[in-house]
Subunit: 148 residues, 2 copies
């Protein structure tokens, strides 16, 4: 079994995608995030949902989440409006947590697992040159190696 057989389509955004559109793509999709494509269209990093929340939750509340308790429930329900006109570029994780491992289409299951284990990431992109052929999540990999 090689990466090419296990890769499935995975939602992607670009640096210019509006933040709110990225949030909509994430909502309820049960994936570890979206893959952000760089300017050359090659996969650049994973944008996890928690990162979108960082843009929407006011900084003073992130610094002290207990303060969120004093915001009334109606206002608390609409915090996502803070995404405003921001784009994915402004949502990117910090440089040291941008690792998006890539494997070639002929990588074996052990190569994929080794990368996920080493970098503690839940998804790898399958890339041939600059072209993304899909992605493989850790649970899809487990699903396959366990034959479940």
């Amino acid at each position: 079994m090689r990466a090419s057989e296990l890769a499935t389509e995975f939602p992607t955004v670009t640096l210019a995608t509006p933040a709110v559109d990225a949030a909509r793509q994430m909502a309820g999709n049960d994936l570890p995030g979206l893959i952000v494509l760089g300017q050359d269209e090659s996969p650049f990093c994973v944008l996890p949902a928690a990162q979108v929340l960082r843009m929407a939750v006011p900084q003073y509340i992130q610094d002290d989440p207990a303060l969120a308790g004093v915001i009334d429930e109606a206002a608390a329900d609409t915090f996502i409006d803070n995404l405003g006109d921001h784009t994915v570029r402004e949502l990117l994780p910090p440089p040291n947590s941008r690792e998006l491992p890539t494997v070639t289409p002929d990588a074996t299951l052990l190569e994929i697992a080794a990368l996920m284990a080493q970098l503690r990431v839940p998804v790898v992109a399958v890339v041939d040159g600059n072209t993304m052929h899909g992605a493989i999540t850790a649970d899809a990999l487990l699903d396959h190696v366990l034959g479940t």
Copy 2:
């Protein structure tokens, strides 16, 4: 909207659960991991799928994933057998990455979002005293606040 209305059932394991059973529970479940319950049955940490792979992939290959390329494909397909008789206790993430935020059933959406944003985690447990009432994932939260 409060945490109690958004909490859904979430798969849990105990420290004594066999590692291979935890892997089976994860396989293809499209969740950020399993919630590990401590000895008092209260939620203790999240066990992500990448952590299970760390137990199954030999250490020398994690140190240098390129070495995985020299293992033949048939052997690479069966690496999960290395889980052997290990238990969840041996799979736990390192202490500094065990954060499992918990919220009370009356937490607002903003409180939940603030915790996820601050700790960069994809799931929070909803807990009343020591009793877990379910969990909320970041994409379920986005789903709700966006009305998608």
